[in-house]
Amino acid sequence: MSPLARVVEALLFLSPEPVSGEALSAATGAHQADIDAALAQLRAGLLGRGLQLREVAGSWTLVSAPEAETAARELLARPRSNALTPAQAETLAIVAYLQPVSRPEVARIRGVAAESATNALVERGLIEEAGRSQFGAVLYRTTTQFLASFNLSSLRDLPDVQTFDPSPQDEAALRDRLLRAGEQRAESLGSSR
């Protein structure tokens, strides 16, 4: 491993937050291209080790390897965080794909108010305010911590949103049910008049 790769490894170890390529370059006095090469070397050097190199929102950080999770939670008494509730997960998905997005907009898509889900997500550090809409409503976006906790290096890692659309069969079944329900309703209204 080159001397520069070693210094980069030490810097990522010491820094409490992910470090950008520019910050690494400024701290070491090395050119960006050399930093890139050092990062590639570090990534290769960490294969088969207890640590991994990870990109988060264009910055770099070290994380522990998955096989150490059980022992680490045991040693550090750090339990897994609670799973998202369905309401939180839906709200987070809408913010992730449509950001920046306001709470009334989220409520319109979900069909129910989004207040407590939004607050919980802000509290968990997964979303944050991102300015205001023309009507003065607070807009929300996802945070770097969101990327880190969901093991995404950037928002581009989110799957194409269309992959989540119901299949044509499901859509047809839904359409059928709706139309039938509509007809029944029309009949019962007609007969009761």
Partner: protein, 252 residues
Amino acid sequence: MPSDMLRNLELDLDVFSGPFDLLLSLILREELDLLEVQLAEIVIAYLDHLERRERLNLEAATEFLVLIAALLELKSRLMLPGEEVEELDELEPAQAAEELLDRMLRYARYQNAGQWLIERQEAGQQFLLRESGPPAELSKTAEKPRATHDPQLLARAVGGLLKMPPAPDLRHLRNPRVSVADRLTILRDLLRRGRFDFERAVAGQDRMTVAVTLYALLELYKRGEADWEQEVPFAPITVAVGGNAAARAVAS
């Protein structure tokens, strides 16, 4: 105020856990959003409670019905904002179904995406970040105060808050046309002619009217003016003059 039994009904809902009367007062003070409360959970908790107590306290049961019906009415008004009902009502059934289908598909997309995020979060938890800061001897020099921000940022931020938002357009809003008083009058008219089927009181009416009429009927039941029966779930509901109707006739 609810009776002791209701006050002490312990609830454990998705968004709230505690006694029923606290839930009520939180909702009334708008500290808890009624739209997020699953009313069915409350009913189930109440039924469990009744089962444990064996004996049915009719007064408390009526009171519960009135309260839960009031919550249902409030919630249904919140869930069906006037404009959208209008919109859907004005559409042909086929168009309305298309519109509804569009909304459901759009929602299904994000529901599925949410499910994906839940699984992704599960997997992401395998990787842990170091949480300790750098050693003290290296961080002593951290964060020197230096001019890093443009003062105009403050002027822009506070100036943005001064901007008055455009006045909301209220033209599409109408007062709710269904009032409990009106429905009470209709029910009392029917009652004067004897027993009747609840369907008759709401024939051809929209959902809002049906809900408000049911609420009015609960009110009559509470005052003893009406009694009602339903043989099995979904069977016709028969309404008849209640035991207290004579008293009311004297009073009026």
